[in-house]
Protein backbone atom coordinates (compact mmCIF):
# COMPACT_ATOMS: atom_id res chain seq x y z
CA UNK A 1 0.00 0.00 0.00
CA UNK A 2 1.49 3.27 -1.16
CA UNK A 3 0.46 5.24 1.92
CA UNK A 4 2.95 3.20 3.92
CA UNK A 5 5.68 3.97 1.43
CA UNK A 6 5.11 7.65 2.20
CA UNK A 7 4.46 7.35 5.92
CA UNK A 8 7.31 5.06 6.91
CA UNK A 9 7.33 3.88 10.49
CA UNK A 10 10.36 6.09 11.18
CA UNK A 11 8.41 9.17 10.11
CA UNK A 12 5.44 8.42 12.32
CA UNK A 13 7.82 7.69 15.19
CA UNK A 14 9.51 11.08 14.84
CA UNK A 15 6.09 12.72 14.45
CA UNK A 16 4.89 11.24 17.73
CA UNK A 17 8.14 11.79 19.58
CA UNK A 18 9.82 14.78 17.92
CA UNK A 19 13.46 15.34 18.87
CA UNK A 20 14.76 18.74 19.94
CA UNK A 21 11.30 20.27 19.90
CA UNK A 22 11.01 23.18 22.30
CA UNK A 23 13.22 26.21 21.76
CA UNK A 24 16.46 26.45 23.70
CA UNK A 25 17.88 29.87 24.59
CA UNK A 26 21.33 31.17 23.67
CA UNK A 27 21.07 30.49 19.97
CA UNK A 28 23.43 32.12 17.48
CA UNK A 29 20.44 32.83 15.27
CA UNK A 30 16.73 32.23 15.21
CA UNK A 31 14.88 31.74 11.94
CA UNK A 32 11.21 31.54 11.18
CA UNK A 33 10.01 29.72 8.05
CA UNK A 34 6.54 29.32 6.64
CA UNK A 35 5.18 26.90 4.09
CA UNK A 36 3.12 29.41 2.16
CA UNK A 37 0.95 26.84 0.47
CA UNK A 38 -0.48 25.42 3.71
CA UNK A 39 0.42 27.81 6.48
CA UNK A 40 2.72 25.49 8.43
CA UNK A 41 5.26 27.43 10.44
CA UNK A 42 8.52 26.64 12.14
CA UNK A 43 10.86 28.56 14.40
CA UNK A 44 14.36 27.19 14.70
CA UNK A 45 17.24 28.12 16.97
CA UNK A 46 20.76 27.17 15.97
CA UNK A 47 23.96 27.56 17.90
CA UNK A 48 27.28 27.52 16.09
CA UNK A 49 30.36 27.06 18.26
CA UNK A 50 33.74 27.28 16.53
CA UNK A 51 32.19 26.32 13.23
CA UNK A 52 30.37 23.35 14.70
CA UNK A 53 26.61 23.09 15.23
CA UNK A 54 26.39 22.63 18.94
CA UNK A 55 22.64 22.92 19.24
CA UNK A 56 19.49 22.90 17.15
CA UNK A 57 16.09 23.31 18.71
CA UNK A 58 12.78 24.17 17.14
CA UNK A 59 9.10 24.63 17.58
CA UNK A 60 6.17 24.88 15.27
CA UNK A 61 3.04 23.41 13.85
CA UNK A 62 2.78 21.25 10.82
CA UNK A 63 1.97 17.94 9.25
CA UNK A 64 3.67 14.69 10.18
CA UNK A 65 6.08 15.01 7.29
CA UNK A 66 7.31 18.48 8.21
CA UNK A 67 7.43 17.73 11.94
CA UNK A 68 9.22 14.42 11.53
CA UNK A 69 11.60 15.81 8.99
CA UNK A 70 12.55 18.71 11.26
CA UNK A 71 13.05 16.26 14.09
CA UNK A 72 15.36 14.18 11.89
CA UNK A 73 17.45 17.09 10.66
CA UNK A 74 17.87 18.47 14.16
CA UNK A 75 19.24 15.11 15.36
CA UNK A 76 21.35 14.44 12.31
CA UNK A 77 23.24 17.72 12.09
CA UNK A 78 23.99 18.32 15.73
CA UNK A 79 27.72 18.04 16.25
CA UNK A 80 28.53 18.43 12.55
CA UNK A 81 30.66 21.23 11.16
CA UNK A 82 28.74 23.82 9.16
CA UNK A 83 30.33 22.61 5.93
CA UNK A 84 29.49 18.99 6.59
CA UNK A 85 25.95 19.97 7.56
CA UNK A 86 25.40 21.99 4.41
CA UNK A 87 26.58 19.07 2.33
CA UNK A 88 24.17 16.69 4.09
CA UNK A 89 21.34 19.14 3.46
CA UNK A 90 22.29 19.22 -0.20
CA UNK A 91 22.13 15.43 -0.36
CA UNK A 92 18.71 15.43 1.24
CA UNK A 93 17.44 18.15 -1.08
CA UNK A 94 18.69 16.27 -4.14
CA UNK A 95 16.85 13.15 -2.99
CA UNK A 96 13.62 15.09 -2.49
CA UNK A 97 13.84 16.74 -5.88
CA UNK A 98 14.64 13.52 -7.75
CA UNK A 99 10.96 12.64 -8.23
CA UNK A 100 11.68 9.27 -6.66
CA UNK A 101 14.73 8.18 -8.63
CA UNK A 102 17.22 8.86 -5.81
CA UNK A 103 16.49 6.61 -2.83
CA UNK A 104 19.03 8.44 -0.62
CA UNK A 105 22.31 7.36 0.91
CA UNK A 106 21.62 5.95 4.38
CA UNK A 107 25.24 6.35 5.44
CA UNK A 108 24.83 10.09 5.02
CA UNK A 109 21.14 10.71 5.69
CA UNK A 110 20.42 8.02 8.32
CA UNK A 111 16.72 8.34 9.27
CA UNK A 112 16.45 10.93 6.52
CA UNK A 113 16.17 8.23 3.85
CA UNK A 114 12.69 7.52 5.17
CA UNK A 115 11.63 10.63 3.23
CA UNK A 116 12.65 9.22 -0.14
CA UNK A 117 9.03 8.30 -0.79
CA UNK A 118 7.92 11.91 -0.37
CA UNK A 119 9.70 12.81 -3.59
CA UNK A 120 6.91 11.13 -5.51
CA UNK A 121 4.37 13.58 -4.06
CA UNK A 122 5.38 17.00 -5.38
CA UNK A 123 2.92 18.84 -3.17
CA UNK A 124 4.59 17.36 -0.07
CA UNK A 125 8.21 17.98 -0.98
CA UNK A 126 7.98 21.42 0.60
CA UNK A 127 6.74 19.85 3.84
CA UNK A 128 9.75 17.56 4.01
CA UNK A 129 12.11 20.42 3.21
CA UNK A 130 10.68 23.00 5.61
CA UNK A 131 12.93 22.19 8.57
CA UNK A 132 15.93 21.53 6.37
CA UNK A 133 15.65 24.84 4.57
CA UNK A 134 15.22 26.59 7.89
CA UNK A 135 18.40 24.90 9.14
CA UNK A 136 20.26 25.81 5.99
CA UNK A 137 19.16 29.40 6.35
CA UNK A 138 20.16 29.40 10.02
CA UNK A 139 23.63 28.04 9.20
CA UNK A 140 24.18 30.67 6.50
CA UNK A 141 23.06 33.44 8.80
CA UNK A 142 25.23 32.14 11.62
CA UNK A 143 28.25 31.98 9.34
CA UNK A 144 27.62 35.51 8.11
CA UNK A 145 27.26 36.68 11.68
CA UNK A 146 30.33 34.93 13.06
CA UNK A 147 32.24 35.88 9.90
CA UNK A 148 31.27 39.48 10.57
CA UNK A 149 32.31 39.17 14.17
CA UNK A 150 35.60 37.67 13.07
CA UNK A 151 36.10 40.58 10.70
CA UNK A 152 35.19 43.04 13.40
CA UNK A 153 37.76 41.47 15.69
CA UNK A 154 40.40 41.78 13.00
CA UNK A 155 39.81 45.53 12.76
Amino acid sequence: MELDSLYQEVILEHYKRPQNKGLLPNQTVQVHHVNTSCGDEITLNLKLTNGVISEISWDGVGCSISQASTSVVSELLKGKSSDAALSVIETFQAMLQSKGSDRGDESILEDGVAFAGVAKFPARVKCALLGWMATKDAISQSLALTGNNAKKEQK
Binding site: M1, E2, L3, L6, Y7, L12, S37, C38, G39, D40, E41, V61, G62, C63, S64, I65, S66, F121, R124, C127
Partner: protein, 417 residues
Protein backbone atom coordinates in the same frame (compact mmCIF):
# COMPACT_ATOMS: atom_id res chain seq x y z
CA UNK B 1 -34.25 11.84 -2.91
CA UNK B 2 -33.13 12.67 -6.43
CA UNK B 3 -33.75 16.16 -7.74
CA UNK B 4 -32.35 15.18 -11.15
CA UNK B 5 -30.65 12.22 -12.74
CA UNK B 6 -27.25 12.44 -11.09
CA UNK B 7 -25.77 9.48 -12.90
CA UNK B 8 -26.73 11.00 -16.25
CA UNK B 9 -24.96 14.16 -15.15
CA UNK B 10 -21.89 12.19 -14.09
CA UNK B 11 -21.75 10.60 -17.53
CA UNK B 12 -21.31 14.09 -19.02
CA UNK B 13 -18.04 14.59 -17.12
CA UNK B 14 -15.33 12.36 -18.61
CA UNK B 15 -12.86 13.04 -15.80
CA UNK B 16 -15.14 11.27 -13.31
CA UNK B 17 -14.14 8.04 -15.06
CA UNK B 18 -10.52 8.51 -14.00
CA UNK B 19 -8.84 6.11 -11.62
CA UNK B 20 -6.75 7.56 -8.82
CA UNK B 21 -3.64 6.16 -7.08
CA UNK B 22 -4.08 2.69 -8.42
CA UNK B 23 -7.64 1.79 -9.27
CA UNK B 24 -9.69 3.95 -6.95
CA UNK B 25 -12.74 5.68 -8.32
CA UNK B 26 -12.28 9.47 -8.34
CA UNK B 27 -14.38 11.07 -5.60
CA UNK B 28 -14.03 14.72 -6.49
CA UNK B 29 -14.88 16.92 -3.51
CA UNK B 30 -12.86 19.98 -4.49
CA UNK B 31 -15.32 21.93 -6.64
CA UNK B 32 -14.91 24.90 -4.32
CA UNK B 33 -11.41 25.24 -5.78
CA UNK B 34 -12.41 24.46 -9.34
CA UNK B 35 -15.23 22.51 -10.91
CA UNK B 36 -15.04 19.78 -13.53
CA UNK B 37 -16.28 20.41 -17.08
CA UNK B 38 -19.00 18.61 -19.03
CA UNK B 39 -18.46 17.55 -22.63
CA UNK B 40 -20.80 20.24 -23.92
CA UNK B 41 -18.46 22.97 -22.64
CA UNK B 42 -15.43 21.36 -24.23
CA UNK B 43 -17.36 20.88 -27.47
CA UNK B 44 -18.42 24.52 -27.54
CA UNK B 45 -14.81 25.66 -27.19
CA UNK B 46 -13.62 23.27 -29.87
CA UNK B 47 -16.41 24.29 -32.20
CA UNK B 48 -15.40 27.90 -31.76
CA UNK B 49 -11.79 27.13 -32.71
CA UNK B 50 -12.48 24.77 -35.58
CA UNK B 51 -15.33 26.70 -37.19
CA UNK B 52 -15.39 30.36 -36.20
CA UNK B 53 -12.07 31.49 -34.75
CA UNK B 54 -11.10 35.09 -35.57
CA UNK B 55 -10.56 38.30 -33.62
CA UNK B 56 -13.96 39.44 -32.37
CA UNK B 57 -14.81 43.12 -32.89
CA UNK B 58 -11.74 43.55 -35.06
CA UNK B 59 -12.62 42.48 -38.53
CA UNK B 60 -15.35 42.55 -41.08
CA UNK B 61 -14.80 39.15 -42.64
CA UNK B 62 -17.17 36.28 -42.09
CA UNK B 63 -15.17 34.48 -39.38
CA UNK B 64 -14.70 37.72 -37.47
CA UNK B 65 -18.44 38.34 -37.69
CA UNK B 66 -19.18 34.86 -36.39
CA UNK B 67 -16.62 35.10 -33.60
CA UNK B 68 -18.12 38.43 -32.53
CA UNK B 69 -21.61 36.99 -32.57
CA UNK B 70 -20.62 33.96 -30.49
CA UNK B 71 -18.68 36.06 -28.00
CA UNK B 72 -21.55 38.50 -27.58
CA UNK B 73 -24.10 35.74 -27.32
CA UNK B 74 -22.07 34.34 -24.42
CA UNK B 75 -22.39 37.74 -22.79
CA UNK B 76 -26.16 37.61 -23.28
CA UNK B 77 -26.27 34.22 -21.60
CA UNK B 78 -24.31 35.45 -18.60
CA UNK B 79 -26.56 38.51 -18.36
CA UNK B 80 -29.72 36.39 -18.46
CA UNK B 81 -28.21 34.04 -15.86
CA UNK B 82 -27.72 36.81 -13.30
CA UNK B 83 -30.71 38.92 -14.37
CA UNK B 84 -28.66 41.87 -15.61
CA UNK B 85 -28.49 44.06 -18.68
CA UNK B 86 -26.17 42.76 -21.36
CA UNK B 87 -23.83 45.74 -21.22
CA UNK B 88 -23.35 45.31 -17.50
CA UNK B 89 -21.40 42.08 -18.01
CA UNK B 90 -17.63 42.51 -18.32
CA UNK B 91 -15.53 39.50 -19.22
CA UNK B 92 -12.30 39.22 -17.24
CA UNK B 93 -9.85 36.38 -16.79
CA UNK B 94 -11.06 35.54 -13.29
CA UNK B 95 -12.90 36.79 -10.24
CA UNK B 96 -9.50 37.91 -8.99
CA UNK B 97 -9.13 40.20 -11.99
CA UNK B 98 -12.74 41.38 -11.59
CA UNK B 99 -12.11 42.55 -8.04
CA UNK B 100 -8.75 44.08 -8.91
CA UNK B 101 -10.47 45.87 -11.80
CA UNK B 102 -12.82 47.65 -9.41
CA UNK B 103 -10.04 48.44 -6.93
CA UNK B 104 -7.70 49.81 -9.60
CA UNK B 105 -10.43 51.70 -11.40
CA UNK B 106 -11.37 53.45 -8.16
CA UNK B 107 -7.68 54.09 -7.58
CA UNK B 108 -7.46 55.69 -11.01
CA UNK B 109 -10.36 58.07 -10.36
CA UNK B 110 -9.29 61.68 -10.14
CA UNK B 111 -10.15 63.91 -7.24
CA UNK B 112 -13.74 65.07 -7.59
CA UNK B 113 -14.92 61.79 -9.07
CA UNK B 114 -17.35 59.88 -6.89
CA UNK B 115 -15.02 56.88 -7.15
CA UNK B 116 -12.00 58.75 -5.83
CA UNK B 117 -10.56 57.39 -2.60
CA UNK B 118 -8.14 59.21 -0.33
CA UNK B 119 -6.72 59.40 3.15
CA UNK B 120 -9.56 59.64 5.65
CA UNK B 121 -11.79 57.35 3.63
CA UNK B 122 -12.56 53.87 4.81
CA UNK B 123 -12.78 50.51 3.08
CA UNK B 124 -14.66 47.74 4.88
CA UNK B 125 -14.11 44.01 4.35
CA UNK B 126 -14.69 41.00 6.57
CA UNK B 127 -12.56 38.50 8.40
CA UNK B 128 -13.87 35.67 6.23
CA UNK B 129 -12.67 37.05 2.89
CA UNK B 130 -10.73 35.04 0.37
CA UNK B 131 -7.37 36.73 -0.27
CA UNK B 132 -8.80 37.78 -3.64
CA UNK B 133 -11.28 40.05 -1.88
CA UNK B 134 -8.88 41.23 0.78
CA UNK B 135 -5.46 42.03 -0.66
CA UNK B 136 -6.69 44.22 -3.55
CA UNK B 137 -8.35 46.40 -0.89
CA UNK B 138 -5.27 46.37 1.35
CA UNK B 139 -3.27 47.57 -1.63
CA UNK B 140 -5.83 50.22 -2.56
CA UNK B 141 -5.77 51.41 1.03
CA UNK B 142 -1.97 51.51 0.98
CA UNK B 143 -1.88 53.46 -2.29
CA UNK B 144 -4.52 56.00 -1.29
CA UNK B 145 -3.95 56.27 2.45
CA UNK B 146 -7.48 55.05 3.16
CA UNK B 147 -8.14 52.96 6.24
CA UNK B 148 -9.02 49.26 6.01
CA UNK B 149 -11.40 47.94 8.66
CA UNK B 150 -13.37 44.74 8.92
CA UNK B 151 -16.39 42.94 10.24
CA UNK B 152 -15.36 40.04 12.44
CA UNK B 153 -16.57 36.46 12.53
CA UNK B 154 -18.27 34.82 15.47
CA UNK B 155 -17.45 31.37 16.83
CA UNK B 156 -20.25 29.75 14.88
CA UNK B 157 -18.85 31.06 11.63
CA UNK B 158 -21.27 33.93 11.06
CA UNK B 159 -20.52 37.58 10.46
CA UNK B 160 -20.71 39.57 13.66
CA UNK B 161 -23.00 42.47 12.78
CA UNK B 162 -23.43 43.89 16.28
CA UNK B 163 -21.13 46.83 15.55
CA UNK B 164 -21.70 46.94 11.79
CA UNK B 165 -23.19 50.40 12.03
CA UNK B 166 -20.09 51.88 13.62
CA UNK B 167 -17.74 49.99 11.30
CA UNK B 168 -19.56 50.98 8.12
CA UNK B 169 -19.52 54.64 9.08
CA UNK B 170 -19.90 57.81 7.06
CA UNK B 171 -16.26 57.72 5.94
CA UNK B 172 -16.83 54.40 4.23
CA UNK B 173 -16.42 54.45 0.45
CA UNK B 174 -16.42 50.71 -0.28
CA UNK B 175 -17.80 47.62 1.40
CA UNK B 176 -16.35 44.43 -0.10
CA UNK B 177 -17.83 41.18 1.10
CA UNK B 178 -18.09 37.57 0.13
CA UNK B 179 -21.51 36.14 -0.65
CA UNK B 180 -20.56 32.75 0.66
CA UNK B 181 -17.41 31.84 2.55
CA UNK B 182 -15.25 29.37 0.64
CA UNK B 183 -14.10 27.92 3.97
CA UNK B 184 -17.09 27.99 6.29
CA UNK B 185 -19.90 27.64 3.81
CA UNK B 186 -21.66 30.55 5.50
CA UNK B 187 -23.98 32.54 3.25
CA UNK B 188 -23.96 36.18 4.28
CA UNK B 189 -27.19 38.20 4.55
CA UNK B 190 -26.17 40.53 1.74
CA UNK B 191 -29.15 42.84 1.63
CA UNK B 192 -29.10 43.30 5.37
CA UNK B 193 -25.47 44.40 5.24
CA UNK B 194 -25.85 46.49 2.14
CA UNK B 195 -28.36 48.61 4.04
CA UNK B 196 -25.48 49.84 6.18
CA UNK B 197 -23.54 50.65 3.03
CA UNK B 198 -26.47 52.42 1.37
CA UNK B 199 -27.08 54.53 4.43
CA UNK B 200 -23.61 56.06 4.07
CA UNK B 201 -23.45 56.00 0.26
CA UNK B 202 -20.69 53.40 0.04
CA UNK B 203 -20.25 51.15 -2.99
CA UNK B 204 -20.91 47.49 -2.35
CA UNK B 205 -18.70 44.87 -4.02
CA UNK B 206 -19.86 41.28 -3.67
CA UNK B 207 -17.51 38.32 -4.19
CA UNK B 208 -19.96 35.83 -5.68
CA UNK B 209 -17.42 33.11 -6.54
CA UNK B 210 -19.03 30.54 -4.28
CA UNK B 211 -22.65 31.53 -4.82
CA UNK B 212 -23.30 32.07 -8.54
CA UNK B 213 -22.29 28.49 -9.45
CA UNK B 214 -24.57 26.93 -6.86
CA UNK B 215 -27.84 28.83 -6.52
CA UNK B 216 -29.77 31.52 -8.32
CA UNK B 217 -28.18 34.92 -7.92
CA UNK B 218 -30.16 37.77 -9.40
CA UNK B 219 -28.58 41.20 -9.41
CA UNK B 220 -32.00 42.82 -9.48
CA UNK B 221 -32.74 41.29 -6.09
CA UNK B 222 -29.33 41.94 -4.59
CA UNK B 223 -28.82 45.46 -3.36
CA UNK B 224 -25.18 45.63 -4.45
CA UNK B 225 -23.16 47.53 -7.06
CA UNK B 226 -20.69 44.93 -8.32
CA UNK B 227 -20.44 41.18 -8.29
CA UNK B 228 -17.42 39.09 -9.27
CA UNK B 229 -17.25 35.42 -10.14
CA UNK B 230 -15.11 32.88 -12.02
CA UNK B 231 -16.10 30.62 -14.91
CA UNK B 232 -13.95 27.70 -13.83
CA UNK B 233 -15.95 27.17 -10.64
CA UNK B 234 -19.24 26.85 -12.55
CA UNK B 235 -18.42 24.17 -15.17
CA UNK B 236 -16.76 26.72 -17.45
CA UNK B 237 -13.22 26.86 -18.80
CA UNK B 238 -10.27 28.25 -16.91
CA UNK B 239 -9.23 31.76 -17.90
CA UNK B 240 -12.59 33.52 -17.79
CA UNK B 241 -14.31 35.51 -15.08
CA UNK B 242 -17.08 38.05 -14.89
CA UNK B 243 -17.51 41.45 -13.36
CA UNK B 244 -21.06 42.66 -13.19
CA UNK B 245 -21.55 46.31 -12.34
CA UNK B 246 -24.43 48.76 -12.46
CA UNK B 247 -24.40 50.36 -15.88
CA UNK B 248 -24.30 53.95 -14.67
CA UNK B 249 -21.25 53.11 -12.55
CA UNK B 250 -19.36 51.13 -15.18
CA UNK B 251 -19.94 53.86 -17.77
CA UNK B 252 -18.47 56.47 -15.47
CA UNK B 253 -15.56 54.56 -13.94
CA UNK B 254 -12.06 55.09 -15.33
CA UNK B 255 -10.63 52.18 -17.31
CA UNK B 256 -8.31 49.60 -15.79
CA UNK B 257 -6.41 47.63 -18.45
CA UNK B 258 -5.86 49.81 -21.52
CA UNK B 259 -5.05 48.90 -25.11
CA UNK B 260 -6.93 47.89 -28.24
CA UNK B 261 -10.71 47.55 -28.60
CA UNK B 262 -11.55 49.71 -25.60
CA UNK B 263 -10.82 53.07 -27.20
CA UNK B 264 -12.91 55.66 -28.96
CA UNK B 265 -10.16 57.87 -30.39
CA UNK B 266 -6.42 57.86 -29.87
CA UNK B 267 -3.67 60.39 -30.40
CA UNK B 268 -0.06 60.01 -29.30
CA UNK B 269 -0.87 62.02 -26.18
CA UNK B 270 -4.19 60.71 -25.01
CA UNK B 271 -7.19 58.54 -25.69
CA UNK B 272 -10.92 58.50 -25.05
CA UNK B 273 -12.67 55.33 -24.08
CA UNK B 274 -15.71 53.34 -25.16
CA UNK B 275 -18.61 52.78 -22.77
CA UNK B 276 -18.80 49.57 -20.73
CA UNK B 277 -18.40 46.67 -21.20
CA UNK B 278 -15.81 47.35 -23.93
CA UNK B 279 -14.06 49.97 -21.84
CA UNK B 280 -12.93 47.19 -19.52
CA UNK B 281 -12.04 44.57 -22.14
CA UNK B 282 -8.75 45.71 -23.64
CA UNK B 283 -7.09 43.38 -26.12
CA UNK B 284 -8.26 40.40 -28.10
CA UNK B 285 -10.64 38.83 -25.59
CA UNK B 286 -10.71 35.32 -24.15
CA UNK B 287 -13.31 34.44 -26.78
CA UNK B 288 -13.25 30.65 -26.63
CA UNK B 289 -13.42 30.77 -22.84
CA UNK B 290 -16.39 33.14 -22.86
CA UNK B 291 -18.12 30.84 -25.35
CA UNK B 292 -17.34 27.88 -23.09
CA UNK B 293 -18.79 29.74 -20.13
CA UNK B 294 -21.95 30.35 -22.16
CA UNK B 295 -22.22 26.60 -22.74
CA UNK B 296 -21.65 25.97 -19.03
CA UNK B 297 -24.54 28.27 -18.23
CA UNK B 298 -26.72 26.41 -20.74
CA UNK B 299 -25.81 23.19 -18.95
CA UNK B 300 -26.64 24.60 -15.51
CA UNK B 301 -29.93 25.99 -16.80
CA UNK B 302 -30.83 22.63 -18.31
CA UNK B 303 -30.59 21.01 -14.88
CA UNK B 304 -31.92 24.05 -13.05
CA UNK B 305 -30.12 25.97 -10.32
CA UNK B 306 -32.89 25.41 -7.81
CA UNK B 307 -32.54 21.65 -8.15
CA UNK B 308 -28.78 21.84 -8.02
CA UNK B 309 -29.01 23.81 -4.82
CA UNK B 310 -31.43 21.36 -3.21
CA UNK B 311 -29.23 18.47 -4.25
CA UNK B 312 -26.22 20.12 -2.64
CA UNK B 313 -28.17 20.93 0.52
CA UNK B 314 -29.08 17.27 0.78
CA UNK B 315 -25.46 16.15 0.42
CA UNK B 316 -24.14 18.79 2.78
CA UNK B 317 -26.70 17.94 5.42
CA UNK B 318 -25.84 14.26 5.25
CA UNK B 319 -22.16 15.08 5.34
CA UNK B 320 -22.46 17.34 8.39
CA UNK B 321 -24.55 14.78 10.23
CA UNK B 322 -22.24 11.88 9.53
CA UNK B 323 -19.00 13.76 10.10
CA UNK B 324 -20.14 15.11 13.47
CA UNK B 325 -20.41 11.53 14.67
CA UNK B 326 -16.64 11.17 14.45
CA UNK B 327 -15.51 12.11 17.99
CA UNK B 328 -12.14 13.60 17.02
CA UNK B 329 -13.70 15.79 14.32
CA UNK B 330 -14.62 19.47 14.62
CA UNK B 331 -16.63 21.32 12.00
CA UNK B 332 -15.27 24.81 11.28
CA UNK B 333 -18.31 26.80 10.27
CA UNK B 334 -22.04 26.63 10.90
CA UNK B 335 -23.20 23.17 11.87
CA UNK B 336 -26.77 23.58 10.59
CA UNK B 337 -28.10 24.24 7.09
CA UNK B 338 -29.47 27.71 7.81
CA UNK B 339 -27.94 30.13 5.26
CA UNK B 340 -25.26 27.66 4.35
CA UNK B 341 -23.84 26.28 1.12
CA UNK B 342 -22.19 23.03 0.10
CA UNK B 343 -18.77 23.55 1.64
CA UNK B 344 -17.72 21.66 4.76
CA UNK B 345 -14.47 22.44 6.58
CA UNK B 346 -13.22 20.45 9.52
CA UNK B 347 -10.24 19.48 11.63
CA UNK B 348 -9.39 16.12 13.08
CA UNK B 349 -7.65 16.10 16.46
CA UNK B 350 -4.13 14.74 16.20
CA UNK B 351 -4.12 14.49 12.41
CA UNK B 352 -2.83 17.40 10.41
CA UNK B 353 -5.02 18.31 7.40
CA UNK B 354 -2.12 17.67 5.05
CA UNK B 355 -1.81 14.13 6.32
CA UNK B 356 -5.53 13.60 6.25
CA UNK B 357 -5.74 14.93 2.71
CA UNK B 358 -2.89 12.67 1.67
CA UNK B 359 -4.60 9.60 3.04
CA UNK B 360 -7.91 10.55 1.43
CA UNK B 361 -6.12 11.05 -1.88
CA UNK B 362 -4.73 7.57 -1.52
CA UNK B 363 -8.31 6.31 -1.36
CA UNK B 364 -9.27 8.37 -4.45
CA UNK B 365 -10.94 11.21 -2.55
CA UNK B 366 -9.91 14.71 -3.64
CA UNK B 367 -10.39 17.33 -0.92
CA UNK B 368 -8.66 20.62 -0.32
CA UNK B 369 -6.38 21.06 2.67
CA UNK B 370 -4.59 24.19 3.79
CA UNK B 371 -5.55 27.78 4.51
CA UNK B 372 -7.88 28.03 1.49
CA UNK B 373 -6.54 31.48 0.65
CA UNK B 374 -8.20 32.76 3.81
CA UNK B 375 -5.30 32.99 6.18
CA UNK B 376 -6.82 35.56 8.55
CA UNK B 377 -9.84 33.30 9.00
CA UNK B 378 -7.57 30.42 9.98
CA UNK B 379 -6.00 32.63 12.64
CA UNK B 380 -9.45 33.66 13.79
CA UNK B 381 -10.28 30.00 14.41
CA UNK B 382 -6.80 29.30 15.80
CA UNK B 383 -6.07 26.56 13.29
CA UNK B 384 -3.19 26.32 10.81
CA UNK B 385 -5.34 24.71 8.20
CA UNK B 386 -8.52 22.75 7.66
CA UNK B 387 -9.68 19.95 5.42
CA UNK B 388 -12.49 21.02 3.11
CA UNK B 389 -14.98 18.99 1.14
CA UNK B 390 -17.11 20.90 -1.37
CA UNK B 391 -20.00 19.55 -3.38
CA UNK B 392 -21.46 20.10 -6.80
CA UNK B 393 -24.14 18.66 -9.03
CA UNK B 394 -22.08 15.62 -10.04
CA UNK B 395 -21.57 14.44 -6.44
CA UNK B 396 -23.87 11.96 -4.78
CA UNK B 397 -24.44 10.29 -1.44
CA UNK B 398 -21.91 7.60 -2.33
CA UNK B 399 -19.33 10.40 -2.35
CA UNK B 400 -20.40 11.45 1.14
CA UNK B 401 -20.07 7.82 2.26
CA UNK B 402 -16.63 7.60 0.72
CA UNK B 403 -15.55 10.76 2.49
CA UNK B 404 -16.82 9.72 5.90
CA UNK B 405 -15.34 6.26 5.80
CA UNK B 406 -12.14 7.70 4.33
CA UNK B 407 -11.82 10.08 7.25
CA UNK B 408 -12.36 7.19 9.69
CA UNK B 409 -9.81 5.04 7.93
CA UNK B 410 -7.27 7.86 7.92
CA UNK B 411 -7.87 8.56 11.59
CA UNK B 412 -7.23 4.92 12.42
CA UNK B 413 -4.13 4.94 10.24
CA UNK B 414 -2.56 7.90 11.99
CA UNK B 415 -3.93 7.56 15.50
CA UNK B 416 -4.31 3.82 15.70
CA UNK B 417 -0.67 2.89 15.60
Amino acid sequence: MNYFDVSAVQADFPILGRQIRGNNRLVYLDSGATSQKPNSVLDAERDFYTQHNAAAHRGAHQLAEEATELFESARERVAAFIGSKVDEVVFTKSATESINLVAYSFGNAEQGSRFHIEAGDRIVVSEMEHHANLIPWQELARRTGAELVWLSVSDDGRLDLTNAESIINSKTKVVALTHQSNVLGTINPVNEISKFARRVGAFFVLDACQSVPHYAVNVKELDVDFIAFSGHKMLGPTGVGVLWGRQELLDEMPPFLTGGSMIETVTMQSATYLPAPKRFEAGVPNMAQAVGLGAAIDYLNRIGLEKIHQHEVQLTKACLERLSQIPQLKIVGPSDMELRGGVVSFTLDGVHPHDLGQALDQYGIAVRTGHHCAWPLMKRFKVVATTRASFYLYNDLADVDALVSGVERARDYFLGR
